[in-house]
Amino acid sequence: MATSQDSKLAKRLALLVVEAGEQGVAELKPALEKILAGRSAKDRKAFLKDFHKAAVREIQKETLTVESAQSLSPEVLSQLVIKFSEGRERPLQVVQKTNPELIAGMKVRLGDTVYDASLANNLQNLANSIR
């Protein structure tokens, strides 16, 4: 059974790896081997699960997911990255997705915050106000 200390360690490690970027990934394997040495299989699994969860969360915080009805030009994407990277130490990674259901406009996700400027969302708000 992973203790809360193990869980904290997994989170801290995930944060360090994401912050360090490629260098962090290179140093991850020996670090994990050192931490997991002498632990039971169950504890290793729990630790890695916590680490994975925390890493995904940290990566999402550094990733700008842009959804739009049609693919956006690189200029628009770079403008978005510049705008959302304001006040951050490192520029954000950008992932583009197309979703025709948005009709027009776009939906941007950064971490667990979603900015929805799609036509589909505006129409839904209109429908809610009439209902």
């Binding site: 667990d112 979603v114 505006n122 009439i130």
Partner: protein, 512 residues
């Protein structure tokens, strides 16, 4: 049709396309009406969140990586991986006069099939209770119409009086009687055109009851013409624990609207034991640490934050009031159990109902010794004080004497007289369900008892004698009853008229 199109056109014209910012999360687990979600890093405690399929929930547990959310709809429709969004709002319910006569669920949605409720105002279900400054001491009576209560354990507007007892001892009946009596008084008062008359609106919160029981209660209120002054909030036994937990808060918000708008309201929580059990269920599913009887540590805070919102406000704050009659079910008469002691310590008194008395046919089965109203006679009209001032002590002394009298037959005259009077008073206080008595009738009956007019009637005939005297007074002596009601005290002339009326009635009444 054209008006609908016009409205749609108007909405489209007014539409300002913009960017909406929401904090989102993903469901990681759903069980027992509680969803666990990851993300939602900006969610607030008690904030409403939105799930797919129009289901809402309330964020109750904010942990480092997870949020525990109680679902207010059908949690079976949710699955792992579904998105959940914050709304930035606290759970609110519709309030106002439009709610009167309606049956709603824990979130204020109608369940009576009478169509949507056109409410213009909404109140959050959780609100900070009025502080010390806007409050005023309780001094106006709230008549339950039950003689044993109005004379011995008076309830005032703004008071919190607990109704406590085992199952099947008549707790709900007392509550329903009180609502019916308010409706009767409201009808009379509003018809009289008296501008100073303040009607009392009722809110009945049914928590964890069978639907058949709720239907019976609604039927009783409808039959008595009390539904038009009443809001019924229903969280039936089959509903999820979150609804049972929230229904009392929703009812309180509805009652608060009346209080804050200068009106008087009465709220009945039937019963808070089931709310506490629902809260325990939610807390255990949320993996909160369990304490005594597996209740979470903050279960004490649950009834207190509910009942503290009942108050009498001073004239500067509208002079409104919210009176609370919480109900608690005990197990085998144990008033010292965890939840009963919690609620007893919060309320301003309790009406304790005893199974033994109920089984002996003494109904309402009010235990004189264990029942108390901490507001006391401040919430009684002078006429009631004049005739009922000694009754509680007399009755308590009678119970003690009656226990001793079983062991011997040689009793002195004084003791015998006390026993006779006590047994007659017990009979006089017997009252069938759903038939509250007006205060002037109560005064007249108690006056007759105190002035020995029932002394030559056999004990077993007291109930029929009281009923006969009530009929006699309400049909032939309305002027006298009107005087008692308007003057609110018994002066020499009224007492003379009462003597004359009761003597005249006595000559017509014959024991069976």
């Amino acid at each position: 049709m054209s008006s609908i199109l016009e409205q749609i056109e108007k909405e489209i014209t007014a539409l300002k396309p913009g960017v909406s910012k929401t904090n989102t999360g993903v469901i990681t687990a759903v069980a027992d009406g509680v969803a666990k979600a990851e993300g939602l890093s900006q969610v607030m405690y008690n904030e409403m969140v939105e799930f797919p399929h129009g289901i809402t929930g309330i964020a109750l547990n904010l942990e480092e990586d997870e949020v525990g959310i109680v679902c207010l709809g059908d949690a079976n429709l949710l699955k792992q991986g579904d998105e959940v969004k914050t709304t930035g709002r606290l759970l609110s319910v519709p309030v106002g006069r439009v709610m009167l006569g309606r049956v709603v669920d824990a979130i204020g949605q109608p369940v009576d099939g009478k169509g949507p409720i056109d409410a213009t105002e909404h109140y959050p279900i959780e609100k900070i209770a009025p502080g010390i400054i806007p409050r005023k001491s309780v001094d106006q009576p709230l008549q339950t119409g039950i003689m044993a209560i109005d004379s011995m354990i008076p309830i005032g507007r703004g008071q919190r009086e607990l109704i406590i007892g085992d199952r099947q001892t008549g707790k709900t009946t007392i509550a329903i009687d009180t609502i019916i009596n308010q409706a009767k008084i409201n009808r009379q008062g509003l018809a009289s055109g008296d501008e100073s008359f303040r009607p009392v609106y009722s809110i009945y919160v049914a928590i964890g009851q069978k639907n058949s029981t709720i239907a019976r209660t609604i039927n009783a209120l409808e039959k008595a013409g009390a539904l038009e002054y009443t809001i019924i909030v229903v969280a039936a036994a089959a509903e999820n624990a979150a609804n049972l937990f929230l229904a009392p808060f929703a009812g309180t918000a509805m009652g608060e609207w009346f209080m804050q708008n200068g009106m008087d309201a009465l709220i009945i929580y039937d019963d808070l034991t089931k709310q506490a059990a629902a809260y325990r269920q939610i807390s255990l599913v949320l993996k909160r640490p369990a304490g005594r009887e597996a209740y979470p540590g903050d279960v004490f805070y649950l009834p207190s934050r509910l009942l503290e919102r009942s108050a009498r406000l001073n004239p500067d704050n509208g002079n409104g009031s919210l009176t609370a009659l919480p109900i608690i079910e005990t197990q085998a008469g144990d008033v010292a159990a965890y939840i009963p002691t919690n609620v007893i310590s919060i309320t301003d008194g309790q009406i304790f109902l005893e199974t033994d008395l109920f089984n002996q046919g003494i109904r309402p089965a009010v235990s004189v010794g264990l029942s108390v109203s901490r507001v006391g006679s401040a919430a009684q009209i002078k006429a009631t004080k004049q005739v009922a001032g000694r009754v509680k002590l007399e009755l308590a002394a009678y119970r003690e004497l009656a226990a001793f009298a079983q062991f011997g037959s040689d009793l002195d005259a004084r003791t015998r007289r006390q026993l006779d009077r006590g047994s007659r008073t017990v009979e006089l206080f017997k009252q069938p369900a759903y038939s509250p008595k007006a205060v002037e009738i109560q005064v007249a009956l108690l006056w007759a008892m105190q002035n020995d007019h029932f002394d030559d009637i056999e004990v077993e005939d007291i109930v029929s004698a009281a009923s006969s005297l009530e009929d006699y007074l309400s049909t032939g002596k309305q002027d006298l009853l009107g005087k008692i009601l308007s003057q609110k005290k018994l002066d020499e002339s009224i007492e003379a008229e009462l003597t004359e009326a009761v003597t005249a009635w006595r000559s017509t009444f014959k024991s069976a």
